[in-house]
């Protein structure tokens, strides 16, 4: 798989938002604050959340361990994680 463009945190944030809209199509076209809580504010349920983690894992071309998953509560946390992990890939 070709690594996605993750040179900047903005790149990572754009990819997270794309993955999010894929999981929850009703969010397409809405403004999603970077600090919105994925579950409480955006209403992702357990299945949506797991699908989002699977999408991020695919972008990284690497697994996301269970212990990391619990820290990924917002769009910006996901973007930072993606950016950091891509940097050490």
């Amino acid at each position: 798989m070709t690594p996605p463009p993750l040179a900047t945190i903005e790149d990572a944030q754009r990819l997270v938002l794309d993955a999010l809209v894929d999981v929850a199509p009703d969010l397409e076209g809405t403004r999603i604050p970077a600090d919105a809580l994925l579950r409480e504010d955006l209403g992702l349920d357990s299945m949506d959340f797991m699908n989002l983690m699977a999408a991020l894992s695919e972008l990284l071309d690497a697994d996301i361990p269970e212990r990391d998953v619990s820290q990924l509560e917002t769009v910006e946390a996901c973007a930072a994680y993606l950016h950091d992990r891509a940097g050490i890939r």
Partner: protein, 361 residues
């Protein structure tokens, strides 16, 4: 137009997937229909050759109307009804984003008339907007969804003498086992706790078949398999409860895959008609809603609904000791015409017992 649930009185033909002369076999998807709840892919129940398409794309007709004729078969999937034949152009299924598909349905725009500007000619929501006539009235989808749920639930409470039982199930063994399993798996292959609970209910239905089936014409008719209806929130409001067929026979990985697929299709279109008509029992899981307990309303003509609240740590007394354990409130809403409280208690005990040995699920 098939009835795709107790709450459906009419449906709109969104698109045809066949044209006159096409050879079809039982189970093929021949059309997509918009109920007031969702877009459903309609399967045909006969082998044969498509004769005439009698309903045009975009047309709304009552349940029971004939949609098409099939040669080599007694009749199409629906009962005959006086519907004016309207010549309809055949349209192939075109790539379109879920939002575009839904918007097209809401606006009454046949996807065949929209030029896609997305990758590979995929239709995006802005393409639908450009094709829609500005003067067309837009149906209130949220309102029609509400009306459909109101009709089904009012019928349920009018006709079904519900009784309710509840118990608190210790989930410590199930969650510990699942956590160990998931730790060895990539994220895309992990299994949700809800899947263990679904499987336990499915096996309990096999053990106690009086909870698995329908009340029709004054008598209980058992289901032909355990087709587990799963209540799925549509995010945009409302819910549907399509079936996972033969859920008691699927292993946990297969059940997880089936649930993932069902949730995706429930929200973005592509549920099949048999998934809406086949559920023999329904499970509702409000764990993500953060409430400890849910008391369900049975979906007629089913005779039982099992509800799970949120899993949380509770004070737990056992063997004279007090500790903290993760547990879930589990309820049964059942039809008193079909079963009594004692058998209902046995049902909940079976669900509890099955969740104590997760490796056997």
């Amino acid at each position: 137009m098939p009835s795709l649930g107790a709450d459906m009185t009419s449906g709109k033909l969104v698109s045809w997937h066949v044209k006159p002369g096409d050879v079809v076999k039982r189970g093929d998807i021949v059309a997509t229909v918009d109920t007031s709840k969702a877009e459903i892919d309609v399967e045909i129940f006969e082998d044969g050759t498509i004769g005439e398409l009698l309903v045009a794309e975009g047309e709304r007709v009552p349940v029971g109307s004939v949609l098409a004729t099939v040669n080599g078969a007694p009749q199409a999937a629906a009962e005959p009804a006086p519907v004016e034949p309207v010549p309809a152009p055949a349209a192939e299924r075109r790539p379109a984003s879920p939002l575009a598909r839904r918007t097209a349905a809401d606006l009454g725009v046949p996807l065949g008339q929209v030029t896609g500007s997305g990758p590979g000619g995929a239709i995006l929501v802005r393409d639908v907007g450009a094709s829609a006539a500005p003067s067309e009235p837009q149906p209130d989808r949220a309102l029609s969804m509400r009306e459909a749920i109101a009709a089904a639930m009012a019928r349920s409470k009018r006709e079904i003498p519900h009784y309710y039982l509840g118990t608190t199930i210790d989930m410590e063994a199930a969650l510990t086992w699942l956590s160990e399993q998931n730790a060895q798996r990539p994220v895309a292959e992990r299994v949700l706790p809800a899947v263990l609970m679904l499987k336990a209910v499915a096996i309990a239905c096999r053990e106690l078949p009086a909870f698995n089936g329908y009340w029709v014409e004054g008598a209980f008719r058992p289901g032909t398999g355990v087709h587990l209806g799963v209540a799925i929130s549509l995010r945009t409001g409302g819910l549907v409860a399509p079936a996972i067929h033969d859920a008691d026979r699927l292993d946990l990985d297969a059940l997880m895959a089936a649930l993932r697929d069902l949730v995706r299709r429930a929200r973005s279109g592509g549920l099949r008609s048999s998934e809406l008509t086949d559920p023999t029992v329904t499970v509702t899981n409000l764990g993500d809603g953060g409430v400890p307990t849910v008391y369900g309303v049975i979906y007629p003509p089913q005779v039982a609904l099992v509800g799970f609240g949120s899993i949380s740590e509770r004070p737990w007394a056992a063997g004279g000791m007090l500790g903290a354990r993760r547990a879930v409130d589990t309820t049964l809403a059942a039809d008193h015409r079909a079963t009594d409280g004692m058998s209902g208690a046995s049902f909940l005990k079976a669900v509890d017992r099955l969740l104590q040995t997760p490796e056997q699920l």
